[in-house]
């Protein structure tokens, strides 16, 4: 089956044309055909290279846009106020520009999500990699994948309509919007990411290491917990970092289920805005280019990006430090 060509073919490189010239005239066209072909190969290679470079350009564009659009904001608000003020009310008359309430909301929802996702994800990964019969594995993995594929807005609806009322039966004072239910749902949502990456890591642990442990008389559980998990630690850490990045950047679940009021609290039972849900809230309104609202979402986005970057660098260092080489 012919594949759609990603780049337009170089006009001079038509095979049929080149071939017919060769058959007609034998001395010169051979050379020109070669030259044309070489040129065509070069053009194609350059085009493919430019395509590959586009991903690097995207990164630069992200950094560039976030920084460039935040500059007017930071000319107006000092970094000290941004980091130490405990109120975030940029669109009010009495404007305060402290990012901390949004950061707190992000950290609380992320924390709740991780409390759900890390134990569940790790247990599932150990079970699937070390305990489950092949058939169970093959059956369960697609289901977990589907869980990871459900649109986040649907999870948001589920958190608001199903999980919050459920939690209210246990905690009667829980408000309709709260970070707990958003965090729990987010946690279940990122379980597949955590479990599949850590399972891959455990799968990569060579068999002889397990065999050594079994030969010493260890049980399956002992081998899993004391040998396989530590050996796969760098991969498992990568899975956790992925989970954290997902949770920090998750938007719709918190925007729907956690309320969108900035609230400087670490109590998951309260409603609060996160960095991401603030961006959504502002974007839903009228947002003229260059307005204060417009500037604040880029400053918020920059903060979000730096937090994600921080976790990723932390994960990278952790991974380097404990990397096992077989």
């Amino acid at each position: 089956m012919p594949f759609t060509q990603p780049e337009p073919r170089f006009a001079g490189g038509n095979d049929d044309l080149a071939r017919s010239t060769v058959s007609m005239n034998n001395d010169q066209p051979v050379l020109s055909r070669k030259a044309v072909q070489r040129l065509r190969e070069r053009v194609i290679e350059t085009a493919l290279f430019l395509a590959a470079l586009s991903s690097v350009l995207t990164t630069f564009a992200i950094a560039g846009v976030l920084i460039y659009e935040s500059i007017p904001f930071f000319q107006h608000v000092s970094l000290k106020e941004f980091l130490t003020d405990t109120q975030w009310t940029p669109l009010f008359d009495n404007a305060h520009y402290g990012i901390m309430p949004l950061v707190a909301g992000t950290l609380v929802t992320t924390g709740v999500a991780l409390l759900v996702a890390i134990p569940l994800g790790t247990i599932i990964a150990v079970y699937l990699s070390e305990f489950a019969p092949h058939k169970v594995r093959e059956m369960v993995k697609p289901f977990l994948e589907l869980l990871g594929a459900v649109p986040t807005v649907v999870f948001g609806y589920f958190a608001l309509i199903f999980v919050t009322p459920l939690l209210q039966k246990i905690l009667p004072n829980l408000p309709g919007f709260n970070m707990l239910s958003a965090g729990v749902v987010m946690g279940v949502m990122i379980v597949p990411y955590v479990s599949s990456v850590s399972e891959d890591a455990m799968h990569a642990v060579p068999m002889f290491i397990r065999e050594g442990s079994y030969a010493m008389g260890a049980t399956r559980f002992q081998t899993s917990v004391r040998v396989v998990v530590p050996s796969a630690f760098s991969g498992i850490a990568a899975a956790y970092i992925l989970g954290i990045s997902r949770a920090v950047g998750e938007t719709m679940v918190v925007a729907i289920a956690a309320g969108m009021q900035p609230n400087f609290t670490l109590n998951p039972l309260e409603p609060a805005a996160t960095i991401t849900s603030y961006i959504v809230q502002v974007s839903l309104g009228d947002l003229p280019h260059g307005s204060v609202g417009y500037q604040t979402i880029f400053a918020a986005g920059l903060t979000l990006m730096l937090i994600t970057l921080g976790f990723n660098i932390g994960g990278y260092i952790l991974k380097k430090r404990v990397r096992e080489v077989y």
Binding site: S55, I62, L66, I123, L147, A149, V153, G156, F158, V280
Partner: protein, 307 residues
């Protein structure tokens, strides 16, 4: 004496072995949590959405009265945005992957590109929305249009397409390439006539997974400023006069399924929750169908291909 020691050791072993079975049960329960959540989510959405499942729901515009509100503009918008996304992401993603797998030399530039693709996959989706707001909407002046949205989602799924394509290309054995070179094929001829055809299935799987992610993305599209209440359709891509196709729709305002659902979810009136649930069911079915196709394709490729 010896008997007692044997007894003790047996005891110890069975005690340790008990942990094995306890953990197996915990493992099964953990998986059950995930699967039950999926089930509860589906059932809840289905029950809530039930009253809205009739043909009118698909052919009506959003309305202030919940019973009459439908998803016409939303699903049309979703289809058009996905078209733009696929047209932008597939050529770009496949070309990048071909370069990285077949052409790239091992040097620092290649290393940067590779690390970069991995990192892009971890960038929160809403950040892509901010990028698009600053770049597509205001710098390139594309406005809050279908084109802006499609390009944004294309950037978002680019890493998925690149990674899947690279895996597919890597699975093509070297002997195929060597055979082509032996017959005098150039590099590009080898790639075009042998490597890409053999990896089409894998690429397709990656593209479907990527699009299924794009179809449910809400945050970046809200960020570029998509409207939530659209009671008209974009211009038709087909015109009665010559040249019969029009690209006017690319610059039209639009809404998509997840935004419509979000809009209904955030309304205080309870009647709109039924609309939200019904839209959610449709969205979920679309995503699950796409993922199902991808999982099926992948397993078929795996079982069929034996080099």
């Amino acid at each position: 004496m010896a008997d007692r020691q044997v007894e003790q050791i047996r005891d110890l072993i069975s005690r340790h072995k008990r942990w094995d079975s306890i953990f197996a049960v915990i493992g099964l329960l953990s998986m059950l949590v995930g699967i039950l959540t999926l089930l509860a989510l589906f059932i809840q959405l289905f029950i809530d959405g039930m009253p809205r499942f009739h043909a009118d729901f698909f052919t009506s515009f959003p309305s202030r009265r919940a019973e009459h509100a439908g998803i016409l503009s939303a699903w049309v918008g979703t289809v058009l945005v996905m078209l733009v996304t696929a047209f932008a992401a597939v050529p770009l993603g496949v070309a990048s992957a071909v370069y990285l797998e077949e052409y790239a030399r091992k040097n620092w530039l290649t290393a940067i590109i590779e690390i970069n693709v991995t990192n892009l996959a971890g960038v929160p989706s809403i950040v892509y929305g901010l990028l698009a707001l600053g770049l597509f909407v205001y710098t390139f002046r594309l406005g809050q249009s279908i084109l802006s949205a499609g390009l944004t989602l294309a950037l978002l799924i680019l890493p998925v397409v690149i990674v899947a394509t690279r895996e597919a290309i890597r699975a093509v054995p070297g002997s195929i390439r060597e055979a082509a070179y032996a017959l005098g094929a150039t590099k590009w001829q080898t790639v075009r006539d042998h490597v890409l055809p053999y990896s089409t299935g894998g690429i397709l799987t990656g593209v479907i997974i990527g699009l299924s992610r794009a179809i449910g993305e809400t945050a970046p599209i809200i960020t570029i400023g998509a409207l939530t209440f659209i009671a008209f359709l974009p211009h038709s891509p087909f015109t009665p006069e010559f040249p019969f196709v029009s690209f006017q729709w690319l610059l039209d305002p639009f809404t998509v399924m997840p935004i419509q659902m979000f809009n209904w979810t955030s309304r205080p009136e309870e009647a709109f929750q039924h609309n939200a649930a019904a839209a959610g069911v449709i969205l979920l079915l679309m995503t699950l169908a796409m993922n199902g196709i991808a999982i099926y394709l992948r397993s078929r490729i795996r079982s069929r291909l034996k080099w």
